[in-house]
Amino acid sequence: MKESRLSSATEEIVQKHENELGGVIAMLEEIQLQHSYLPESALKTVASETGRSLVEIYGVATFYKYFSLKPRGEHLVSVCLGTACHVRQGALIAKEFEDQLGIRAGETTPDKKFSLETVNCLGACARGPIVLVDGHYFSNVKKTQVSQILKKAREGLDAIDVTTDQRVFPVKLRCPHCNHSLLDPNYLIDNHPAVRLTISFASKHGWLRLSSLYGSNNIKSEYEIPMNTIADFFCPHCHAELVGSSACPVCNAPMVPMTIYGGGLIQICSRRGCKSHTMDLVNSICINCDNRHTCKLMKPEGGVWFCEEYI
């Protein structure tokens, strides 16, 4: 069962890139994103679906350092040993990671938490030595910082501390059709009223509550939504379907639009697990505001949120 699911997911990826120039590399990239490595069976599927020989696909997969044929751990640590980073003791940093994780470069810890690899130049030479962890760059890394970097990676580099992080702020949202507020004051997520929506997927129909903090990805829902599922979103008041005109820039699923009090539009991706969202601000940013000449508030670059409440 698992095997067949894997191959159908692979087939989908193959079909997507079939007619592209350099499509094979795009396919392998996407498969690797899905599984964190390139399973043998996936390579075979790519070969048979594209009508190429397995050895050709295998040749591509082994040519690029980016691809891995062995399962990788949850977190990928890449230490740069390019020329610039090398002369700034990148090798010492790599050694320190090896010692602390107890593995050599190119290996994965037995608990499948960390994979360590060395790479040749991450394109940020001036700030070396560079370490890349799960897509996050650390520059000027010193030996003493290694344990801290690992600790951060364990806690999850994408996790945002909603109480202290400056990038997180509350937004008040309403339905773009009926203009009713979507906030539910009786249900708190991250200590703020949650955004209530109705969703349906796979013949299930229920409520979904999102954190109203912009930047937080916390949600609660009536039914467990499987990863990768694309759900349909509805306004709980007027029951109109919320579909945007644009597709998600990351995964191509439809976007769900909601209006911001004071002007502007937030769109979130309708695929579970995809964290993509966009915000088009109209009034909230002072430089776009019609009242900016008469307004007495300070006009910081990021705008004053809910300024109408202060006036």
Partner: protein, 225 residues
């Protein structure tokens, strides 16, 4: 028809003829390793270098891949060509010293020393076997894997290929395996083909998946008796 001069001799060749074919047609010897009639030119070994052009635009090109051009002046044995060729042989000797073909080349071109770090590779990555398998056997069972110093020839995942027809073509065309295959004493002859596909049974221990049409191994059979 294209008119060009090779070592001062004027000749006419069809469009699309390579410099190697033209030179050989006129009887000028050009050594080759990766080139083989019936297979696509690959230009991997660089042994077939010749010099083309005039004055400051003189350059070395691999004759097996370079198509004849109108009015081209080609020199197959100039001093620069000979120096480059010797260097290539020296490098080949550094990687595969036990190959009879390469030893013969070295003696023919008077290469008497080898100044590089000695390695004992079985394969010079000329790609003949890969192209044989793909173009003549239509099997695509073996190919190049990895890159840089980790580049090697073999099957995907190093297991016996389902596509392989066990035709032996790959071993037959390999230009470097000769000594290993026939050895100096015929009674000790082993084909060595598998060694050239880097699954060596001899001198190294592991011997799991043989890419050899002689399976079970003849050599082992011989030594058993």
């Amino acid at each position: 028809m294209i008119t060009l001069k090779i070592n001062g001799l004027e000749t006419n060749v069809e469009k699309g003829t390579t410099l190697l074919e033209a030179a050989r047609f006129l009887g000028f010897p050009v050594p080759t390793l990766c080139h083989m009639d019936g297979l696509h030119p690959f230009g991997a070994c660089r042994l077939c270098l010749v010099e083309i052009g005039e004055g400051p635009r003189i350059k070395l090109v691999s004759s097996c891949t370079y198509p004849a051009e109108e009015g081209l002046h080609v020199r197959t044995a100039s001093r620069r060509v000979m120096r480059a060729r010797k260097m290539i042989i020296e490098l080949l000797l550094a990687s595969s010293p036990q190959s009879k073909t390469i030893q013969d080349l070295a003696s023919a071109f008077d290469v008497k020393q080898q100044r590089f770090r000695q390695e004992f590779e079985d394969c010079i990555l000329c790609g003949r076997c890969v192209h044989m398998c793909e173009e003549q056997m239509m099997a695509k069972a073996i190919g190049f894997r990895g890159r840089g110093e980790n580049r090697s020839i073999g099957t995907p995942f190093d297991v016996q290929s389902e596509e392989c027809r066990l035709c032996g073509g790959c071993m037959y065309v390999c230009p470097v395996c000769m000594l290993r295959c026939t050895y100096t004493e015929p009674e000790k002859a082993i084909c060595g083909g598998c060694a050239n596909l880097s699954v060596p049974c001899i001198e190294k221990e592991q011997f799991d998946d043989v890419m050899c049409y002689m399976e079970p191994c003849v050599a082992c059979e011989i030594t058993k008796d």
